[in-house]
Symmetry: D2
Subunit: 334 residues, 4 copies
């Protein structure tokens, strides 16, 4: 039985980590108190009590934590990651702190200085479908952003196979549930501001864009990305548009995905003309992909869906932990 | 005081017509019973009682209806429009029956034969911002679809000014509240199927596409349009992506709209970087437009919002009626 | 044209006041900046601009404000009300500051000291259906709480007529939309905490209880009141249960209400067995009432609905202003 | 490995049964096609395929189904239960068909004749917390209604201990998510009718009332029960009000529950003043209970929450199956 610490366990991603690890056959969660910035929910008297300790290097050692999950804002992750690694734990960071290749990129997109740049070279970007071989040896995994996870799983096979006409540009219109914004109270995520509404934000300049460019090799000018806040709790749907000159049919498009993902446990495909919706993937670690292609005009649409708290955060973090620790990749996730 | 008949007053667009006409200073609504396919809501004992009569040519005459609104499915509109015109009323049809220029187009997109093709040439497409001069003399107004209203108001000035690179294609990613699908019970619009969900539908082949092509002059291959069903009651947000080679700034983009719409009572613009959301327009007849442009790469995004039941249906229908009957265009709508 | 100042115009009640006053034929709203604790929403360039001035006694005079609405927390209302009155304006306070008869009651229920107790005797409780005659002469109106408005309109006629068996007690199970909690960000009103949820709060000790006791004359032990937070923006539904030994039928119950409210413009009744829901009253100043009675066992249920932001706040405040200033009671409200 | 047939697997309770049984270590689900009245959802190509066969007595035998779940309307259950039993399967019926003790009660509350009255005497009401000993020997389990499950778990210990003043009556104000109404499209459960709304229905005459009376021993006149439709997918919250003359404190109230439920795996209690909400129990088989008591006046409130599709339907049905087949009671449910 491996012990895994969770910092930020009151937040939405952290709470999802706890829930998932409770069902994991090989891992036991330990709650690490850092700064309590969020309230506990009311608990039944008999509810399962996990071990709670202060998040210190000493606790990592005394509790023999093999891995620590940082479900914290980037600034906190940059502060805690070095200390946790030093104390001997592996680290899976769910923030954006270690996703970009260098401190300059981080500063541009996150509008703040990077305070642990010495770890950037070591951090492994944890998108298992494309970086699986680098994960087992890693000490520090940077868990991908929710939007880039869905976008890269949709785009990467198509870009590799050369069917996208990059000169026409790619559009990724992304919609997310509110839990992606975290649990900290904020006017923009207050119920009355979100219900019966849809709001576009970070139009063309979302901080997840560089992750998509980094994995896909696209230039910034080739991708138009806009995020929108849905009046739902969890889930992401991305509608991706591109043009192709050398694709014969939707079946050929699907075939590219089938070849790429036939052994992947967490990517599922739909027959041409059928599309996943957010309910298809809610509370699962799946990324679902559906396609449409019009051979007469070359227009293509790919719809991809994930649960932002699972494949977009806690689930993928556990997938990475499993790979890192040599546990079966799907354990605790099916 | 002009009398206006409403067929389909129990539906969402019809009920909105009644609500709006109750506040209209120059028009009195008369409810026309056709086939009752929907239940009345519970009513307070003292609620305002409008005149209700059977929808017959005789009633049009005896009740001296100057205009009849058809808030009915296309098949019913094709049946009723000739009879209502014959009986001497002007007609504003809210369905798709008379929007396309010929019966062949109708058959292709609506998957059924047109049963009143003799009226297609006469019908005037009622998008006042671009067809205002033809409306006063019309007998039959075809009220635009909700999606095309928002899309055409966003695209038309830009296409006319030549700033869009049409070779790269235009993407219109549209999201709508559920009331756009009508009040008839249907699994796809049941609460439990829609809440906490987002569903893409009619990907690349929505029946509103030909209306956008017709008004904008775009070729089918130049436009990629996808609709998505939002878990909200009312409202549409469309995120429109294109590329430009000859635009200098977002301000220049906004200037095109300002010139076009400076006298329009129902189109509102936002400063660059600010965007309307659905709440901006809910329960109003406004179409709101916000823009973003990246001069370095030529990527542009336009976000446009309307209330699908008002500017996308009942409100625009009243705007058309006002113009048709020589009433002030904004009466009952501000 | 009367000028009315609004403090707290960015909050939900304050914004509703502005919206309603924009349509009021005799009143012009003036926005009074106090401490800006909330963000403005994005605005179209052409949006209607109301006069905005700092909320000072001088502004009351220079802008000739006949009345000032305080859509502010109780602590702010206690601070501002004396100053605004001093400067010559009448005041309609939407907070709980002046609703209870004495400072001791205030301290018990609001858990803070009253800082303007000298105004408590003068303040008139503004429930027009039961206090209409005192309102015209008042300088300071205390606008009723949302829950007590619905509860008192339902209970008062029945208690006066003696049909309720008070020894068995009365239950008022109240449910409210989230806007009742104000616009200030708070974990309890964050989208992800509220959606797909229902939460009971202030069970038996809600601070609105003493207002119900005060108007109805009930003892605390005779009323069990619980509030619940609904995943909706606006609206209140209260389900009220009591027992009767001397009521013959639901019709007799309805008759009591009919007699009481036959001249009231904002109370509507339903035939026995029909009930209002929240949609019946959303965006209106109506209080709707439906009844059920089982003569065999004496069990009675009354369901009452209001929009918490209109009859429960801004609408009733305007109704009070109309009465106070000698304007027609329903002006701007129908 | 036991095989369990599911009729009505496309409905909400049926689909939940399939989901839960997929995780059950000792049971394999078999989908029984009856009359397909609902659409399948879009499925990924690789999704898990369960065996699907026509629902016939022959299939029960050939597929060796130990148990058949009827997640069907009462009329269908009355038709299928005799045939399934005859074919040798045990039956767990999720409808109201076999819950009431005799055909006359059924006719009164369900407004239709009972077509399989010969099974009423044999059917065992499957509320394990109070009928556990009768379940193992049963052939036919009648799975309790969702509202009565929550109400009876809250009321039964208190009535048995004599702390409720029955002369004052008990109020149970119940609120349910929409999935409780089934998947068949219906105006009342259409998205636009439910969102931003709350509707009271079956006031004092809900068909679940006789189940509460049957288990609790209350007279009809002692209980006032009203149901309300919440704008959420799943979950029930019931707020129960009563008066007590012989209760000393909330702690004493809680102690009654603690004694009753200390060995129950699916009933959880909250410290006095803390209450469960719907999120506390969503997607679980728990029934959570919180209490408040005012010793000065004798007023008591109990709040109880379940997931209507789990403890209120599919989860409890599996709990019953486990007991019936001698499997551990909590298998597949924690």
């Amino acid at each position: 039985m491996v012990r895994a610490g969770i910092v930020g366990f009151r937040g939405y991603s952290g709470a999802e980590l706890v829930r998932l690890l409770e069902r994991h056959p090989s891992v036991e969660p330990v709650l690490l108190e850092h700064r309590q910035d969020s309230e506990d929910r009311p608990q039944p008297i008999q509810s399962k009590q996990h071990l709670r300790v202060q998040c210190t290097p000493e606790a990592v050692k005394s509790e023999q934590l093999a891995v620590v999950f940082l479900a914290t804002p980037a600034a906190v992750s940059m502060e805690l990651a070095p200390a946790m690694l030093q104390a001997g734990a592996k680290v899976v960071d769910l923030s954006g702190a270690f996703r970009l290749p260098d401190a300059a990129s981080y500063s541009r997109w996150y509008k703040e200085d990077h305070t642990a740049p010495e770890l950037l070279a070591e951090a492994v970007y944890g998108l298992p479908e494309f970086c699986r071989e680098r994960i087992p040896g890693a000490r520090l995994i940077s868990n991908p952003g929710c939007y880039p996870t869905a976008a890269n799983l949709a785009l990467q096979p198509l870009l590799a196979s050369g069917v996208i006409d990059r000169t026409a540009g790619i559009v990724c219109d992304a919609k997310s549930g509110v839990s992606g914004a975290g649990r900290k109270p904020n006017l923009k995520t207050s119920f009355c501001e979100v219900t019966e509404n849809l709001t576009a934000y970070s139009v063309l300049d979302h901080r997840h864009v560089p992750e998509i460019l980094m994995v896909s090799g696209l230039e910034e000018g080739e991708l138009s990305f806009t995020a929108q806040l849905l009046p739902i709790d969890r889930g992401i749907l991305e509608t991706i548009y591109f043009r192709s000159r050398n694709l014969s049919s939707a079946a050929a498009l699907l075939e590219i995905y089938s070849r790429q993902y036939r052994k992947e446990p967490f990517v599922r495909l739909y027959a041409p003309g059928a599309f996943p919706d957010i309910r298809s993937v809610a509370h699962t670690n799946f990324c679902d992909i559906g396609v449409k292609f019009d051979p007469a005009t070359g227009r293509a649409v790919v719809v991809t869906a994930i649960d932002n708290l699972v494949k977009g955060a806690a689930g993928q973090a556990i997938q990475n932990m499993n790979l890192m620790l040599g546990i079966g990749e799907t354990e605790g996730l099916l």
